[in-house]
């Protein structure tokens, strides 16, 4: 029985690792050596693809676009979402339930349903092709999930403690900022990890909103590379490697957050 488990473990490990291995190795091959022997070890490890892609493409611009949209979106969603959750928990009763239901109702509607009306709304407002618009639109769409998660957590915090705070003369803002937020650290960081991956990797909303080359986020840039490097896999795979790198580094260092955050968030979303 034990060796059956071992075999499954190694086979599935190969299934996951082999594609990744060939992607990385191919990105270090010259186009000629790739087409001559696609499965082989590179004759020489060449950095030429990486140099070429940074020369030919505004890679840093794409990174900056993605980073900017992701950081601002996550910050906005966490701030507004935690304020809402705090207010919901403090209000309680029918009003609190109503506010909670209003936000959580949005969980049923996925981006695939909202993409068309968003596209036309953003055009009507004259916000097309703007990273700021992309940030606020993405933030709006992620509020339901964030409110759902954070309210669930804050409800477990002691109500007496918040009550005691306000008896001592602390205002709502002080209770929220000094008491509730610090205590919500674990759920905030798990939510942040989940939101971060979602926004960084999102395709659909950026696809609806952006069109000029210098505004693209990384997933859209990759889609564009596919068109440009249709005959040159090594360049395309180099693009894949470069764009995945920041996430991989974060994953290696913050694995625990990613695994728990992504898993918890995915179940709710």
């Amino acid at each position: 029985m034990k060796w059956v488990g071992r075999i499954i473990m190694i086979l599935y490990g190969l299934l996951v690792a082999a594609p990744l291995y060939f992607v990385v190795v191919s990105s270090f091959k010259t186009s000629q050596s790739f087409y001559a022997n696609p499965l082989g070890w590179p004759d020489t490890w060449s950095l030429q693809n990486f140099i070429t892609i940074f020369d030919a493409q505004p890679m840093l611009q794409y990174f900056w676009n993605s980073a900017r949209v992701t950081l601002f979106t996550v910050a906005i969603v966490l701030f507004l979402g935690s304020l809402i959750s705090y207010a919901i928990v403090r209000l309680g009763g029918r009003l609190g339930k109503f506010a909670f239901a209003y936000f959580v109702a949005g969980l049923i509607i996925p981006s695939q349903v909202i993409m068309l009306p968003l596209y036309s709304l953003v055009r009507q407002l004259g916000w097309s092709d703007s990273l700021t618009a992309l940030t606020v639109v993405t933030a709006a769409g992620l509020l339901p999930l964030t409110v759902f998660t954070l309210t669930g957590f804050m409800e477990m915090l002691s109500k007496e403690m918040m009550e005691a705070g306000s008896m001592d003369g602390a205002g709502e803002w002080k209770i929220y900022w000094r008491l509730v937020l610090p205590l919500s650290g674990p759920s905030l960081s798990a939510t942040a990890a989940f939101l971060f991956v979602m926004v960084w990797n999102d395709l659909l909303i950026p696809l609806m909103l952006l069109n000029s080359t210098e505004k693209l986020t990384l997933p859209l840039a990759l889609m564009q590379f596919r068109g440009e490097y249709v005959t040159d896999y090594t360049m395309l795979l180099t693009g894949v490697v470069i764009t995945a790198l920041p996430m991989v580094i974060l994953f290696v260092f913050l694995q625990r957050f990613f695994v728990t955050g992504l898993t918890a968030g995915s179940v709710k979303g």
């Binding site: 968003l118 997933p219 764009t243």
Partner: protein
């Protein structure tokens, strides 16, 4: 001593943002579904429920719906079984297991565009990893045009979906396994139960809540699929991989039938709502039982 006014003020920015950029567009989508708008012109006419009727009459819509169902069933069944097996194999917290768990989980952090491009490379009929490996193993007869063959393209993509998410679902099963008290297993073993009996009578029944989570998440996730198909085949060849979400996208942005596409979105939303309803019911039942 709750300052209600101030608390509403706390919620105000979020309410405005969410109402303006989420609730309002969602409702306007419903509105457009009753018009013949092309998505560009300033004017449009009301056409009543014609878009809904046309959707149900459309051969492409029916094809897309059937593809959705096939894709969903394949992904749900295989992903649940695979993630359960992986969880059972890696349940113990040894060092090797922790490393392998991280490896299996890894594809979940890649963007679906990256995953789609990686697998387009693997499936490439002339230079792809899969065909080249089959060839060098002497299995030329198995070589295929994976995403170019209308009969298998949908399943080829379903496989990629599983590759990307099975590790994530495994984590849920592992959490479920760790929640089972060890004494229970120990007691059964002392009473002379064999492995199969322990799995059938103890592990599986106590894993049911985790299984409900995995199945319902996978159902909804695979029903909403868009990215992988958009990147790898864009619905082709000959609509073989067209699913509802890509059907809606193509109607709106290739055919400029915005009204019809909006009706398609609403039908899609209702279908998703039905699935979600069953998800909640299943989870609640499991919650009550567990």
């Amino acid at each position: 001593m709750i300052n209600r006014k101030l608390l509403w003020l706390f919620m105000l920015p979020g309410i405005l943002l969410y109402t303006g950029l989420f609730v309002y567009p969602a409702l306007s989508g419903l509105f457009y579904s009753f018009t013949n708008w092309d998505g560009v012109s300033p004017s449009y006419d009301f056409v009543g429920v014609a878009n809904y009727k046309d959707s149900f009459d459309s051969i492409t819509f029916r094809k897309a719906f059937m593809n959705n169902i096939k894709f969903m069933i394949v992904v749900v069944v295989l992903q649940t079984v695979i993630s359960l097996v992986l969880a059972l194999v890696l349940a113990k917290n040894s060092r090797t297991h922790v490393v392998f768990r991280a490896l299996y989980f890894f594809p979940a952090i890649l963007s679906s565009v990256s995953v789609g491009l990686i697998w387009s490379f693997i499936y490439d009929p002339s230079i792809g990893l899969l065909n080249m490996s089959l060839q060098s193993a002497g299995l030329d007869s198995l070589m295929g045009s994976w995403t170019g063959d209308a009969k298998i393209a949908l399943y080829a993509i379903a496989f990629v979906q599983i590759w990307a998410h099975a590790g994530q679902m495994m984590i849920i099963f592992i959490a479920g396994l760790h929640a089972i008290p060890g004494e229970l297993m120990e007691a059964a073993r002392i009473d002379g139960a064999n492995r199969m009996q322990i799995f059938g009578r103890i592990t599986w029944p106590l894993l049911a809540p985790s299984a409900a989570i995995v199945i319902s998440y996978t159902t909804i996730q695979s029903f909403k699929a868009f990215d992988l198909i958009f990147v790898m085949t864009d619905g082709g060849p000959n609509y073989a991989t067209e699913i509802l979400t890509t059907y809606i996208y193509h109607l709106a942005f290739s055919n400029y039938s915005f009204g019809l596409a909006s009706a398609g979105s609403m039908i899609f939303l209702v279908l998703l709502g039905i699935l979600t309803f069953f998800q909640f019911r299943a989870l609640r039942q499991e919650g009550a039982r567990g």
